[in-house]
């Protein structure tokens, strides 16, 4: 990672104020880097803070959410120091997002072509005529025939809607793309098509992609590095090869073992009993301790620090050996 990262997230803390004044600590000390042309995967079960991380970086948190601490540097500008108005210039022009659930994220009463054009016109990047030409260009890029530009989302299949979402996200030529569960509701073949498309576009446009998913198979196919999240914290962070072939955190190990592998049929799958903790009632010590199969006494008392177990491979577990991580 000698290249200058395009986005550096450092010690990001986000919390939600709930009714009755309770506070849910949704993110705690989340740090990662992403370089241009790279793909990073955010993995974990539902409720681990993956989507909250994206929304914090885009500063699209609901009114109950606030970032309490941390640093988000995008192209050497601190995004947290920007006003809402300045932030608007970054959204979509510099960083855009493919929202979860392509089925429901499109406007049903607007043609697909108009929806793709909307952000271009909103940002005042070009006039109507040029914008129309740009829409055609985008449709070509994602493989939607021009004839379907004036159709409505309900006339599209799931895979086509996802393509339309991708075209929309790329409309203003961003350099960073967030993809929140882009393939979850899709068939395996369509999933493969969409992933292939993302990879192709990435190579062509030198995009940096942050891919959020709970599917470890998808991550292994496309990501260069992986952040495994648990209960709003980073459990393990490293290159794909490190994570898949030398997982250090028990949570990562279990997640990998619970993935059915066609080449090893008949074996009983490992599972992780229980569910992720409620963010209002976090256990003391390590957040994974109540479900961990390797739990020791220390886990229930002290929060494990993030250790650098190998070069640029970090894990937060008392069982790991390493030096305390210092992110630049």
């Amino acid at each position: 990672m000698s290249e200058q990262p395009i986005l550096s997230v450092r010690n990001l803390n986000t919390e939600f104020v709930l009714q009755e004044g309770k506070v849910a600590r949704a993110l705690e000390d989340v740090s990662f880097d992403i370089c241009p042309g790279q793909t990073i995967g955010l993995v974990g079960e539902s409720g681990c803070g993956k989507t909250t991380t994206l929304m914090s970086v885009m500063r699209l948190l609901p009114s109950s959410g606030r970032i309490t601490n941390g640093n988000i540097r995008f192209k050497n500008i601190n995004l947290l120091g920007l006003s809402e108005r300045q932030m608007r210039d970054y959204r979509w022009k510099e960083m855009s997002i493919i929202f979860q659930g392509a089925m429901n994220a499109l406007n049903p009463v607007m043609t697909v072509g108009d929806q793709i054009r909307e952000p271009i016109l909103l940002h005042g990047l070009m006039d109507r005529e040029k914008a129309d030409a740009r829409v055609d260009e985008l449709l070509d890029l994602v493989g939607i025939p021009h004839a379907r530009r004036d159709q409505y989302p309900h006339q599209y299949s799931g895979g086509m809607r996802q393509r339309a979402m991708i075209a929309m996200a790329l409309a203003c030529k961003p350099s960073l793309l967030f993809a929140d569960e882009p393939t979850t509701a899709l068939d395996v073949m369509v999933q493969a098509q969409v992933l292939e498309l993302l990879k192709e576009i990435q190579e062509r446009l030198k995009l940096a992609i942050v891919l959020v998913t709970h599917d470890l198979g998808v991550v292994a196919e496309v990501c260069d590095s992986v952040v495994v999240m648990y209960g709003g914290k980073v459990a393990e962070y490293g290159s794909s090869d490190d994570i898949y072939n030398r997982p250090q955190h028990p949570y990562t190990q279990r997640l990998l073992a619970s993935f059915p592998d066609l080449n090893r049929p008949g074996e009983s799958l490992a599972s992780i009993p229980g569910t992720p903790p409620r963010l209002t009632q976090l256990p003391p010590g390590c957040r994974f301790a109540p479900r961990c199969h390797k739990v020791i006494e220390k886990c229930q008392q002290a929060t494990p620090p993030i250790l650098e177990v190998e070069t640029e491979h970090y894990a937060a577990c008392h069982l790991c050996q390493g030096t305390e991580a210092r992110f630049q």
């Binding site: 079960e45 292939e196 470890l216 292994a220 990501c223 898949y244 066609l262 049929p265 599972s271």
Partner: protein, 354 residues
Amino acid sequence: MTQHDLLEVRDLYKYFPIHQSILDMLRRKPPNYVKAVDGVSFSLARGEVLAIVGESGCGKTTIARTLIGLEEQTDGEILFQGECVGAQERRLRAGLAPLESAGTVGTREHLALPRIALKRLRQQAQMIFQDPYESLNPRSTIFEIVAEPLVVHGLSRSRGERAARVKKALEDAGLRPAEDFSMRYPHELSGGQRQRVVIAGAMVLQPELLIADEPVSMLDVSIRAEILNLLNDLRRQSGVSIVFITHDLGTVGFFADRLAVMYLGRIVESGPVKEVVANPSHPYTKALLSVVPVPNPRLRRERVILQGETPNAADVPNGCRFHPRCPVVMEKCKETDPEYKTVGDGHQAACWLI
């Protein structure tokens, strides 16, 4: 196809008529059909797990619904424990003309077979639906949900006996202790727990056959593993046969014995899972296998990605129905439909290249 087969399906067809405008009716245009299931045959032995795999729109779910009598087949026979399911003969008795396009209909032979009463069928064949968030009644307690099949079928009439059966079903499905769950409502449970309730409700009748329609596709990976393990345990303990419907080949290798790959209403390849996975013969099976995500970046490999999506079942291509998307298509494929050929022990495929 032996005497011991629990389920046998022969030449099953299910066509859905497409709504016609009055104008077209007046013009006497022949009605058009969505050919959801277009000539499917398979059998299932007792205690066996058959996986049916294919993309959305290939007819997997229609087969499941027909097996359990939620849809009536257009043609073909479903024999469950040697008895006829469905209503081809009801159609004949009502004086309805058989569908011409469906081929030979209404042979006398199966009229002689006793028709299994729907209620009896559903006592012995149970279905697990895809979405545990929508398949449970939000206003019933877990106890009521799991006890309902017993009430419907008039089984275990005494209160104590019924409670005991519900408790056992819940605990077998991994909801332990059952007392903690029985008075709760579905919204209080997580997705994985809800799917366990669905499974408990299906198993409380001690069925012979379980039809699981994408039981894990809505669930997180770690919970997915739990539910698959549970189905595997249930099968080992109770010897229930399972028809497992999925679009994800990755989950199939885990516990199915046999595999049927469907494309556009037809089975294109079938056989023992290990055999089909190790030695796929149909180009569609090869493509499906190549896109199964492998959780290891070192094993990234060349993937065969088919372009487009499953074509419309109302407009099935001529010749081999896979030819417009086939990476190795030949002239012959565009004209004639390939027959099944045996590739190995119990392993069949329909492709001209074999």
